[in-house]
């Protein structure tokens, strides 16, 4: 097939997504410093103020500045999302690579388990886990790790199996290269592309799940400026304070959207097995 090489971002949509994602990441890094007000200080005299010059996104039912909460919350939301993914990446890949190297019935059993696990609705599984641990943002993070590991186990196991069956590994075997060196030399570099695609796409999914759990009440607890919890908090005021609900929702939406578009773009450019357009 003739495919002309393309530069990465193909359209203004993708450029916009990259810019938005960059802004969000920067906000997450500097979030607290940028906040014009204290995100937690209650001031009932200033409650439910609509967006204005002093409070760009208005104030919530307890008089807290929505913009400040949003900016501070960016850090919290993104950080918890990234911690879920980092832990899941390590645990999942360890299980997957281990499974591929050991092979046999252990491999079979682990992958069957991952298959079954993967099938169960992740949100409800996490809900159960978080409820069992006692509601907190930390519980929500561990709950998502608990329900998300099979994706990475399956993926890394598949890649490892592929690589182990390649000819140059047979050559490495005859030279007596130990397993851990094979992982470092061959498996990890080869897995990078596939994993980065999955990670980008999962940022949105995990973030939506965390905010969902917080919304239900098993994640971040209400005064915490986590975006999902902010929406839960604003629900009671939605008739006379739409801004409390709208802005955190938009923040979640644009973050998820831009990371999904970037993930989609990476898949098109990096994944040889994806559907390429003629």
């Amino acid at each position: 097939m003739l495919t002309t090489p393309r530069s990465y971002p193909k359209s203004w949509v993708e450029w916009t997504a990259i810019v938005i994602a960059a802004i969000i990441v920067l906000t997450a890094v500097f979030g607290g410093l940028l906040a014009p007000h204290d995100p937690l200080v209650i001031d009932f005299r200033a409650k439910l103020l609509p967006p204005s010059g002093t409070h760009w996104m208005g104030t919530d039912g307890a008089g807290r500045d929505v913009l400040s909460r949003l900016l501070t919350g960016a850090q919290l939301t993104l950080l918890s999302t990234l911690s879920v993914i980092a832990v899941v990446l390590v645990i999942g890949c360890t299980i997957g690579i281990f499974s591929a190297f050991v092979g046999g019935w252990v491999d079979n059993l682990l992958m069957r388990l991952a298959d079954i696990w993967l099938g169960f609705p992740p949100l409800i599984l996490a809900l159960g886990f978080a409820a069992a641990m006692g509601a907190s943002l930390q519980a929500a993070i561990w709950a998502l790790v608990f329900s998300w590991w099979p994706t990475y186990a399956r993926l890394s196991r598949m890649i490892t199996k592929d690589i182990l069956s390649a000819k140059y590994i047979a050559a490495a075997d005859t030279l007596g290269v130990p397993a851990w060196r094979k992982v470092v030399l061959y498996v990890l570099p080869n897995a990078f592309d596939v994993l980065i695609i999955q990670v980008t796409l999962d940022i949105a999914a995990v973030m939506l799940a965390i905010s969902g759990l917080s919304f239900i009440g098993v994640g971040a607890q209400i005064p915490t400026p986590e975006w999902g919890a902010m929406i839960a908090d604003g629900r009671d005021y939605v008739r006379n304070g739409w801004w409390i609900v709208i802005f955190p929702g938009l923040a979640i939406f644009f973050t998820a959207l831009s990371f999904n578009i970037i993930g989609d773009m990476l898949r098109r450019e990096l994944d040889p097995t994806s559907q390429r357009r003629a």
Partner: protein
């Protein structure tokens, strides 16, 4: 035949894992399950009593088999906020949730299958690009947020649909045998109740379906694209078949099979996602029950919902696979 047996064996294995997960959640993860089960206001005596009652003084393996036996008998314990056996609670809450999921699934299929087929046919076109962008956007919407906005705008402001609840006030005394209002009202010939129930379902079902439809369109598209590339499509065109015939008679039946497997899985996922919708719309259901159990720290209620959702997930997948096998056993042999 071996396929069916294998498939059933896999379901049983999955069921076992499900019980294991539930056991983990109710007995291992909480620091002291007896303390949790007893509720926040229980005294030390009560906790000790519960510990003995739950068999927590026995070895973990024994506890697991006791738990397995309990679950198989449908004994999930007693909810300490409804003071009913949890099984009875669930039986009550399940029909409205299933109703919601079924309507959402219909919305999902009605949109995903044709749009997926058309975007595959016009792969790479403007239309395809637009649908791709819309579905990526749809996958980024927080369901609970969309639900609140729909409720406020479409129901409260525009008054197109009821704001909350399962039935209007005037139908509040409606009762049926099955608990499925849509079905019961039809059986009793109460069309007014049927349409009232349907109107109450539309917004929550739409909010629930949005995310799944975004995924469904893309899954269908991928599956159909790989079919369009196959030679039998070329042969069908060479036979002089119209593009419509090629799409609906040839590509669709083949491309729908792998897509339907995913829709089968989505059924369970949707049931698990009702937790984000039901409470907002004030609908009874296992989702709202789970949220209530969480806020009341009733771990057994939560675990029971996890178990039931998992169970429905397994059953839905099994049914879809067996159905596809029954429709076309050959396709399965091909892999």
């Amino acid at each position: 035949m071996t396929y069916i047996l294998q498939r059933i064996a896999f379901s049983l294995l999955s069921l076992f894992v499900l019980v294991l997960i539930s056991f983990l959640l109710s007995h291992i993860v909480p620091g002291d399950p007896a303390y949790v089960a007893a509720g926040p206001n229980a005294g030390a005596e009560k906790i000790a009593e519960i510990r003995a009652e739950m068999g927590l003084d026995k070895p973990v393996a024994t506890q697991f088999f006791i738990y397995l036996g309990d679950v198989l008998r449908g004994d999930f314990g007693t909810s300490w906020f409804t003071h009913q056996p949890i099984l009875q609670d669930i039986a009550q809450e399940l029909p409205p949730s299933l109703e919601l999921v079924l309507v959402a699934m219909v919305i999902n299929l009605v949109v995903s299958l044709p749009v997926g087929l058309l975007t595959a046919r016009f792969n790479g076109s403007r239309f395809d690009d637009l649908v791709r962008l819309v579905s990526i956007a749809g996958a980024g919407l927080p369901i609970f947020w969309t639900a609140i906005l729909l409720q406020q705008k479409v129901a409260a402001d525009w008054k197109l649909f009821p704001v909350a609840g399962r039935l209007s006030f005037e139908h509040r005394r409606f009762e049926g045998q099955t608990g499925f209002t849509l079905l019961d009202s039809l059986m009793q010939g109460r069309l007014d109740v049927f349409f009232d129930a349907l109107a109450h379902l539309m917004l929550p079902a739409f909010a629930l379906a949005l995310l799944f439809t975004a995924v469904g369109v893309r899954i269908t598209r991928t599956s159909m694209i790989s079919e369009f590339k196959k030679d039998y499509v070329t042969l069908a065109r060479a036979k002089g078949a119209s593009e419509g015939r090629v799409m609906f008679r040839h590509v669709f039946p083949n491309g729908a099979t792998p897509a339907l497997t995913v829709f089968g899985m989505q059924f369970g996922w949707m049931l698990g996602t009702t937790v984000l919708v039901e409470e907002i719309f004030g609908r009874p259901g296992i989702g709202r029950y789970a949220v209530k159990a969480v806020t009341q720290s009733d771990i057994h209620g939560v675990v029971a919902v996890v178990f039931v959702v998992g169970l429905f997930f397994l059953v839905a997948n099994l049914v879809v696979d067996l159905l596809l096998y029954a429709i076309n056993p050959r396709k399965h042999l091909e892999g």
